[in-house]
Symmetry: C2
Subunit: 274 residues, 2 copies
Amino acid sequence: MDRPDVFLPPDDRLALDALSLLSNKWEPVVIAVLLESGPLRFSELEAAIPDISPNMLTKTLESLSEHDLIDRSVVTDSPLTVSYELTDAGRDLQPVFDSLIAWGSDHIGSVRPTVILGDRDRRLLELYGAWLDNEFDSQTVSDQAQLQRRFAETPDVVVFDIDLWDDDPPTFSRRCPGTTRRIGLVGDRPAPSLCAWPCDTFLRKPLRKDELIAAVDRQVERLGQPEPTREREAIESTLSLLEGTYSKQLLETDEHVAPLYDRLSSLDDSLRET
Amino acid sequence: MDRPDVFLPPDDRLALDALSLLSNKWEPVVIAVLLESGPLRFSELEAAIPDISPNMLTKTLESLSEHDLIDRSVVTDSPLTVSYELTDAGRDLQPVFDSLIAWGSDHIGSVRPTVILGDRDRRLLELYGAWLDNEFDSQTVSDQAQLQRRFAETPDVVVFDIDLWDDDPPTFSRRCPGTTRRIGLVGDRPAPSLCAWPCDTFLRKPLRKDELIAAVDRQVERLGQPEPTREREAIESTLSLLEGTYSKQLLETDEHVAPLYDRLSSLDDSLRET
DNA sequence: CTGTATCCCCATGGATACTG
DNA sequence: CAGTATCCATGGGGATACAG
């Protein structure tokens, strides 16, 4: 981008020149990622920026190298692995990003809640995403690895099919930020074992639009809720889902569900004390 | 510019969103100009940004308005005059530009001297500009008004045909920054009256490439020279030009030139004292 | 003076297939 | 794993003429 001949003091032209180095689609993204994560390999950058294609990443990295914002170094020869890291000049862009963040918080203030949608079915993902786009910043993932990475952003809400998670529920519990409200998606006839999942609520597939939006809204409203209340509501929600399918008698003797009833009474007790 | 789906904390995405508001050719220029000069009218913006066409300026201003970075207000209805000024959000971009300037000074450090070329003949301007482009940041103007505006940038050197300046030499002296080294362009047979022009040196047209570059180089080397030395060299240069055309006898009695000889001896005296 | 309305170019970005 | 090579589409940017 060339901007010859502007009646402006040299300092301002310098700022515009600097800005033009950041004025394309992917270069600032790569810089931001490297600022956050330190040196990364080609494949790690690809993973961190899902929407970039290998050729675009190559072009971007080449351009950044030419401008001396990143260094490329070969780690191993075979198989070939390389590492990209910021140069001093690149690292010194941190204050620029800081000032942009400060401005953004003041004037974009996009406090639209962030929602991660996770499902193996990409058609469904697209549909759900479209439903939520009016009200939320939604992003979609279609496997566990992607979902885990999204957790780094501490989204406000995660809506995910529990089948998406290959590992066990405790692993999910460890990966998912505590503050993130969790909505589990289950099949039409939920198994009692679903109560092992640390979700705030569950929705049965297939979803309806209003149902999904209402559920997400409800979770967003409850952001910052004190932990005991949150846990109580989660258990109640889980139990009420199961009670719609199974008899209470059956549930109270089920190995997965019984602990929830116990936990519920103990929570009720401690809440009654206060 | 859309950058969906990046694995990055919300703050960084905010920075990228903010950045994308500044990622086109003219919007940051308009912002920078308004930050420097305060509210401006459409025509003033056109003048400050010579390379923008009216339709591009319109588009740019519309886009800036949509993003709430500038406000448009009608000053008079007929003839229609409007004024554009930064909103609070726009003004708050100053720290962003500051950080860009800081980064630029550290890492672009393009300290190529800036040279303003002034001539009524645009073909010549283009030629001279091409000659200087290897070594200098040159910009061209073809009338007095443009030259005056360029002075706001305190260029390192100005090379201008003295016929370009419609007003008298004292006016030029007042407008041109003191630190800017001045090279006057004169016809083949310079009039003695040229010594009224406050130039560091003169060149006779037509110019040769090596001659022009050498002259500009010489002036750049002398940037920051103490004033008495500068004035002495300026007078010597002026006199030697005239002495190449006229007899010394004639010059010493000329009403324009005689004061220069006097001034020269008085400068020599004061220099000898130290 | 302050813009519109059209038309058009080409650089940026992207899809796809292939490779050391 | 870390890229290349090719081809293609879009839309940002611009030239020109016109208008309230």
